[in-house]
Each structure stands twice: as C-alpha cells, then as structure tokens.
C-alpha cells in the first residue's frame, strides 16, 4: 500500500510517495515535466529489491502550486534535497526533466546520491544551451492593455501541473559546461567510479556533454539499476 509524506520546502508543500517498503538502498523516482509520481511501481523497477519512493516536484502532482510562478531547475533540485533530508542516501532514476534535476542534485549532494540513471522523458532538453530571444510569459488578463496569454491551456484543478511550471521549466537555459560541472562534482565527491548512467536515447546538448565526461557511462535502465543496487 502506498503512503505519502508531505514535506515542507520553504513555502511549498511537497508530496513524497512511498511506492514500496523494503530493506536496502532506497530508489527515488523523479518524474518528467508535467508528470507526477506513478501510482504503482512501474514494472521496469520490479527488479530493484529496496524501497522505492517518488517525489512530486513543486507545481506537479500532489505538491503545492505557487502564486506567480518562479520555477527554476535549481529550486526543483532543492525540492529533491528536502526529500534527501527525509530519506538519507538514495539512488535516483530521473525521467526527462527529472533526469536533469537528478544530475544537479547528484553534483550538489554527491554524498547522498549513490548513483543516477537519466532516462528519456518530457522536459529533457529544456530551453537549449544558450539564451533565446526574450519573451514575457503572462497569465490571462481582462485588461485591454495586457499582452495576450501564452501560457499553456490547462483545465483548473489540483491534478493538473501549474502552467507556469510547464512554461518556465521547458525554456530554462542549460549550458553544456554548467551541466558538466555538476557531473564532475558527482564523479569527484560521490565515491563511486561511475555515479552517472545515461539510459536516454535522445541527447540534447547538455546531455551529450555530460555523456562525454569521465565517470559517466551509457547503459540500459536495467543495467544502471543493477550497478547501483546496495543491500
């Protein structure tokens, strides 16, 4: 039976779901952009013998929405850090956006991330490696002076991701050397020979740069899980 813990990240409430209780190193699942933690353990993770958790990022799933947006990859990294304060050392599997966030937290808390597998999923590319022409994303307004809204259309309701999250986390700039800095920190400080496994087929610029770093290997998800399992 799944259980959910609500954690506080400054003014945001985060939903940390336990999908399976067991002994051994916990596996933390990070979902893609616009997604949420699955209701049950996906079959691909059945071979993981330890506990399995999933975190809903701020603005997603059962976690809180934020008035006025302001979503960044770094804030989501801090979401994961709040979960690590609860769980201790984990291995991480991240889909799409969750793969990029997994990379950031693996570099920022290398002592707490004992292996990361980056998989394909929504939001893997972000906004590319360099700044784009600027745009101001405005919510709908009744003012005749206002710009037309360019926010994604979603029906209202707590089950839907925050439109600000969808836009801001789809357009954030991800320079290659920024991503590789985190990869190098994970390699230098994690104590693992190869702390990052790339299982994604698609290689946006940041991920191609990370893939070329020492200590980063390309394997399937199953092979990655096997590498990082600790009883």
């Amino acid at each position: 039976m799944n259980t959910t813990k609500m954690l506080t990240h400054v003014r945001c409430e985060l939903a940390l779901h336990q999908l399976r209780d067991a002994d051994g190193l916990p596996l933390l699942l990070l979902h893609g952009l616009g997604e949420r933690t699955p209701a049950e353990v996906p079959s691909i993770f059945e071979e993981w013998r330890g506990p399995i958790w999933g975190l809903d990022f701020t603005g997603h799933g059962a976690s809180s929405r934020t008035p006025g947006g302001g979503y960044t990859a770094e804030i989501l990294m801090a979401d994961v850090d709040v979960a690590l304060a609860e769980l201790g050392k984990v291995a991480i599997v991240g889909r799409g956006l969750g793969g990029y966030i997994g990379l950031l937290i693996a570099g920022a808390r290398p002592e707490l991330v004992s292996g990361l597998v980056i998989c394909d999923g929504p939001g893997l590319a972000g906004g590319g490696p360099t700044p784009h022409s600027p745009a101001v994303i405005s919510p709908p307004s009744t003012s005749p002076a206002a710009l037309p809204s360019v926010l994604p259309s979603t029906t209202s309701g707590p089950e839907n991701p925050d439109p600000f999250a969808l836009v801001e986390l789809a357009t954030d700039v991800r320079p290659d050397d920024y991503a590789t800095t985190y990869a190098r920190q994970a390699v230098q400080f994690s104590g693992l020979e190869a702390p990052i496994t790339i299982a994604a087929v698609v290689r946006p610029s940041w991920l191609a740069a990370v893939a070329a770093e020492p200590g980063v290997v390309t394997k399937t998800l199953s092979q990655g899980l096997e590498r990082y399992w600790q009883p």
């Binding site: 506080t8 990240h9 400054v10 003014r11 945001c12 701020t58 809180s64 934020t66 008035p67 006025g68 947006g69 302001g70 979503y71 960044t72 770094e74 804030i75 990294m77 801090a78 850090d81 709040v82 304060a85 570099g107 920022a108 808390r109 290398p110 700044p131 022409s133 600027p134 745009a135 101001v136 994303i137 405005s138 919510p139 307004s141 003012s143 005749p144 002076a145 206002a146 710009l147 600000f164 801001e168 357009t171 954030d172 700039v173 991800r174 320079p175 920024y178 800095t181 190098r184 920190q185 230098q188 400080f189």
Partner: protein, 316 residues
C-alpha cells in the same frame, strides 16, 4: 508570526505620522496594488497622475522607497513616476518562488497597469538589467531605456582553475541547500533603527547613515522585539545557476529606442565591476554613455540631481 506588518507610508501618511525627514526625500503620492499571476505587488507613484509616466525599477535587496530622492526630481520635471516593490521586497507579497523570469513578468504586469502605449523605463543595478531585458522583449512598450549601473559583466567572476572551481561550487551549493532546508520558518534578525541602518551600511558603505536610518520605517517593520527589514528571509545574496553576466550585456546592441547608460566609476561590492570598455562596444546607435567620476554604485542616492537631469534630458 502574528505581527501585522504596516505598509510604508505615502507622502501624506508620512506627514501625519511624523516620519523623520531626509533632505530632498519625498515619499510617493500614491500606493496601489497590481496582481501578477496571483501574486500581489505594491506599486508606488510620485507626481501628477495626468503627467506622462516613467517606470523605475529598483535593485536587488532594495525597494521603491530607495527612489525617494530621485523620483521627486523627475516627477517635478513633469512626469508620473511609477515604481514597485519587487516580489519579496518592501511591501510586495513574499512569493513561494523567486526567479529572473518571474521578476520580468512582474515588471510587465506593472508596465501594463500604467496603460496602453510605450513609456520610458529606468532601472538601477538588478533593476537596470531587468529593464534591459524588458526593453528587448517588449520593444513596443518601452520608449526609452535608462540604465543606472545595471550592466553585468564577467569581470567580478573569480578567475580560478577548473578543479578549484568545482570544489568552490560544491561548497556553495551545499550551503545554499542547507539555507533552503532552514528557511521555512526563518525571520530576519530584530534590532533598533540604528542597528538595521548599520547592517544595511555594510552593503552601502558610501551612503549617509542618516539616509539609511530614514529607510528603516519604509523598508522595515516594528514588532515587540524591535525592527526588521521586510525583505523575505528566504532570499539570499549572491546565488548560482546557469546565467552568465555577458548574456545581459549581449541584449544591449539590439535595442532600437534611445538608451542612456550611466556607470558609477568608484567600484563597489554591490556593483558589477563593469568598466567603460565593457559597455562602449555594445552601445546601440541611439545610445549615450555617461561615466560618473567620484560616484559609486548607488549613484541615484549619492547624486540624485545629476542623475535626474540626465534622465530628464534623455526622456524629454
């Protein structure tokens, strides 16, 4: 915390309350609110509401009240000066999240609240970089750009070897994450008016202590154990992320409206360390560049009359 945080006073409220004056300072004539995607921003206005508008943007960790000496001079030149407390600053709502894109969206919400048509924009420091991007993103809404020491350059970034940078960043990231873990119930440290002014003086060492004390009842609030700055305690100086200062400067050559860039030539901790040779090659055709000798980063507070005259020459 159950303390009711009073709004900073308008001009008439300050007179009624007997706010300690500062030579040349004048509180805004009006206060109003603007909604930005569900977040409430406090907007301030100086001057006749029928005059043409000009939008002012303050720097990081400042608030609109820091324009109390500059804005009246521009208002007296025939303008309705509109400014706002950025999210988490001054009297605006503390947000769940803070980001550059959110600040830009807030600026657009305030700009749209002024009405149709293009208006001049003036920004100091972070506000200058913000107005630079706003002018690039919304050229149809910005008639002139005045940038007060808000042109980031890469000069202030440490030149260290890669392996040292990795270790430094690792420490910085851990400290930032620790700060996030501790910030849920964090409130700013209380003190007397003089103590708050002294703390602010560490970031503003060139400024008159009497000015810093004048700011406390505007940017701070009083509760049973003393005064506190209103700025959100979850916010932190500095930071990290993928952003590069040269990205901001690279927007400057694209601008088609008249531009005035002013640099204070006495470099300070709160500034960017940007030099004329960093700016001049990036000036667009309609730009004027003014280096002010003997003036620091907070030029509009040190020399409000000089800066006001330059603004009025540009936008009139």
């Amino acid at each position: 915390m159950s303390t009711v945080i009073a709004s900073a006073p308008t001009r008439s409220e300050a007179q009624d309350a007997g706010l300690a004056p500062f030579p040349g300072a004048r509180r805004p004539d009006r206060r109003r609110s603007v909604d930005s995607g569900g977040l409430t921003l406090t907007v301030w206005e100086w001057g006749d509401p029928g005059d043409p508008a000009v939008l002012f943007a303050h720097g990081g960790f400042d608030f609109a009240g820091t324009f109390d000496t500059l804005a009246p001079l521009v208002a007296d030149g025939g303008y309705r000066v509109v400014s706002w407390d950025q999210r988490g600053h001054g009297d605006s709502q503390h947000a769940h999240l803070y980001s550059w894109e959110a600040d830009l969206r807030d600026a657009a919400a305030v700009l749209n609240s002024i009405g149709p048509g293009a208006v001049p924009v003036v920004g100091h420091s972070k506000g200058g970089a913000l107005m630079l991007q706003l002018a690039d993103a919304m050229a149809h809404k910005v008639s002139h750009l005045v940038n007060l020491d808000g042109l980031p350059s890469g000069r202030s970034w440490p030149d260290v070897a890669d392996h040292h940078r990795t270790r430094m960043l690792n420490g910085e990231l851990g400290e930032w994450l620790d700060h996030r873990r501790r910030s849920a119930d964090k409130v700013r440290r209380p003190g007397t008016v003089q103590e708050l002014a002294q703390r602010r003086g560490l970031m503003n060492p060139r400024l008159n202590p009497q000015w810093l004390e004048y700011l406390v009842p505007i940017g701070g609030y009083e509760s049973h154990d003393g005064w506190r700055w209103k700025i959100d305690a979850s916010m932190r100086m500095g930071g990290f992320g993928p952003w590069r200062p040269e990205w901001s400067m690279s927007r400057l050559p694209a601008l088609g409206m008249p531009v005035l860039c002013i640099l204070g030539m006495d470099l300070e901790l709160m500034g960017w360390g940007t030099l004329p040779e960093d700016v001049i090659p990036n000036l667009p055709a309609n730009a004027r560049f003014v280096p002010l000798e003997g003036v620091g980063h907070f030029m509009h507070i040190e020399q409000p009359a000089v800066v006001a005259d330059l603004i009025l020459e540009t936008i009139s």
